[in-house]
């Protein structure tokens, strides 16, 4: 069943951009997949390990700045830069994890929020490195040829396939984690941290590892953001609202599910877009309202609820 769904999903991803030549719809599809990446990253830590972070934008921002700076200052290929962004995000996560995981529950969430704010303020003020509030801009992306044809970076299609690949890889990672021994450790830590420790799980190490993996995905996503929009500034990539959005994607889709983030991303991106079209200035009002309704009536998330119904139907 899972395999059929996955194969159908990948087939759909492959043909989706061929269905429309409209660049706006292509942009929306890219945003859905980008949000999936963000939701997947958050879900690994927040869903599977049960550690609710409110500062995930920090890792996204570190990835975005790494990619940008490696390209602009060191002239490193941005595709490698994206990986480096993930790597640095993960590296950056280690000290943060070691500090914050001494705390539990709401204290952990508040600590991650504080860390993200500190990082944002540093990025805003460290002007020699980050150019401060002015931000960084890429004007041209380097030429790359695949099978003798130069890729057209003005088109959205290459970005679509790039982010689709990243999203599939991230979901595969999550799926692999959820089926592994490590995934079982995470579940144990999530359900009861004291019992997990009692049976010999090093809860700090397990959680730090989950955070590093999660930060890697967020860092790569940040690299993609930098390349796709070609402009970043601290208030765009380190915003609290971005951290909160990452949480929403995972929660609306379904905590601790592999497919949840993509469902959440599809729903939230479309809802935001429909509201933006209908209500122009006031669209975030309805976005907030929608959020409240989902949490009120579908606390286990849309995919979480569908999965429950499906299991119920199977008996």
């Amino acid at each position: 069943m899972t395999r059929i769904l996955a194969a159908a999903g990948i087939a759909l991803l492959l043909v989706a951009p061929l269905l429309t030549g409209n660049t706006f719809y292509q942009h929306l599809m890219i945003m859905v997949l980008f949000s999936t990446l963000l939701g997947t990253s958050w879900n690994l830590l927040g869903g599977f390990a049960g550690q609710v972070s409110f500062g995930h934008a920090a890792f996204l921002g570190v990835g975005a700045y790494t990619t940008m700076l490696f390209y602009l200052k060191l002239n490193l290929s941005p595709w490698l830069g994206m990986l480096a962004g993930g790597g640095l995000g993960a590296l950056f996560a280690l000290p943060i994890g070691l500090i914050c995981f001494r705390l539990r529950g709401p204290y952990f969430s508040l600590a991650t929020l504080a860390v993200a704010e500190i990082v944002r303020l540093v990025a805003l003020n460290w002007e020699q490195l980050t150019n401060g509030p002015v931000g960084l801009l890429i004007t041209t992306l380097p030429q790359i040829s695949i099978a003798g044809r130069a890729i057209d970076w003005e088109s959205k299609i290459p970005f679509y396939y790039l982010v689709a690949t990243l999203a599939v890889l991230a979901m595969t990672l999550i799926y692999a984690v959820s089926r592994s021994r490590f995934g079982a450790y995470l579940a144990a830590v999530r359900e009861d941290i004291d019992s997990a420790e009692a049976v010999g799980i090093d809860s700090v190490r397990v959680r730090v590892l989950a955070l590093a993996l999660s930060a890697f995905v967020a860092g790569v996503a940040g690299g993609f953001y930098a390349l796709y929009f070609r402009y970043i500034d601290p208030d765009a990539v380190f915003a609290i609202s971005l951290s909160v959005e990452m949480v929403f994607i995972a929660v609306v889709g379904g905590l601790a599910t592999t497919a949840g983030p993509i469902v959440g991303a599809v729903v939230l991106v479309s809802v935001a877009e429909v509201f933006r079209e209908r209500f122009a200035a006031g669209h975030l009002i309805f976005y907030g309202l929608f959020m409240m309704l989902v949490i009120r009536y579908l606390p286990e998330g849309i995919w979480g609820r569908l999965r429950l119904l499906f299991r119920f139907a199977q008996g």
Binding site: Y107, A114, L121, L255, G282, I285, L289, M292, I295
Partner: protein, 288 residues
């Protein structure tokens, strides 16, 4: 020396208003175990309420606080009854996110009606600061400080001397036992949420003459509030007062002696240090 005194005075004055907002957040956490992310929006609503009653009816904010506090109290009780009550049993994370949705909803509703313009309200009698002993004291902030102390003291008496206050404290300590002793926990939660909202709203009203107001001002305030309640210990009222003043001092002294750009960072670093080494707050009275 004069600069030092000046920073201390302005730190304490601002800090007292931070404290008032933080007390609202901390009593709600104490009784219901929820961190209300929409708390900053309650301050924003108080600010706009005071602003419009000044612009439209010429009501001085220090008078209209008498009008807005009970209105915010009623609004908070209604919000609890119709928005939060059924969500709280669905778990900590869900409630937190629900209030995040509520915050987005209120802030953007305000943005829609009142636009994102920065507004100021200048009281004619408070244009120039008073200068006792050569230290500049902004008059509006000084009056706000006095009223914040009065309101906080009133709340303190309510919590420590009345039956209602006893019921609130009992619920915060142990909801089950409180219920067994005949406390209507739902009703107490509703009243507490109303009190928290009223404090936030009243602080907003008092802050209006001293701060820019715009619909998303709540985001900055709520983050400051987190810092304060953690400094003082989550759930503790005296802790929130001390934490508020401390943050006010750290910000104003930090801006003078360290750097203006990094003054907010100092607050967060302090916050992390306290979280790590004294998670129950500086005075060890919070809940872990």
């Amino acid at each position: 020396m004069e600069i030092f005194l000046q920073s201390v005075v302005s730190g304490v004055l601002t800090g007292s208003l931070y404290a008032m907002i933080a007390i609202g957040l901390t009593i709600v956490f104490g009784v219901m175990r929820i961190i209300n992310l929409a708390h900053g929006e309650m301050v924003m609503l108080g600010m706009f309420g005071a602003y419009w009653s000044y612009v439209l009816w010429g009501l001085d904010p220090f008078v209209s606080v008498v009008l807005w506090s009970p209105l915010m109290f009623a609004g908070g009780m209604l919000a609890y009854r119709f928005l939060l009550k059924d969500v709280i049993p669905k778990g900590e994370l869900n409630t937190l996110l629900y209030t995040a949705g509520l915050s987005l909803f209120i802030a953007n509703l305000a943005l829609f009606f009142w636009t994102g313009d920065y507004r100021t309200l200048n009281l004619p009698y408070a244009l120039m600061p008073a200068r006792p002993f050569g230290i500049a004291v902004p008059i509006a902030l000084a009056i706000a400080f006095g009223m914040a102390i009065a309101l906080t003291a009133a709340l303190y008496v309510l919590l420590s001397r009345t039956d209602l206050g006893r019921a609130i404290r009992a619920t915060a300590q142990d909801p089950q036992s409180a219920a067994l002793m005949g406390v209507n926990v739902q009703q107490i939660s509703m009243i507490t949420f109303g009190l928290g909202t009223a404090l936030a709203g009243a602080a907003g009203v008092l802050l209006v003459p001293s701060l820019y107001l715009y619909p998303t001002v709540g985001e900055i305030l709520i983050v400051k509030c987190f810092v304060i309640v953690v400094l003082g210990g989550l759930g503790s009222v005296p802790g929130a007062i001390a934490g508020g003043i401390l943050l006010g001092l750290v910000e104003s002294l930090g801006a003078v002696y360290v750097s203006v750009a990094y003054k907010d960072t100092i607050g967060f670093v302090l916050f992390l240090l306290v979280l790590l080494f004294r998670p129950a707050g500086l005075f060890g009275v919070g809940r872990t």
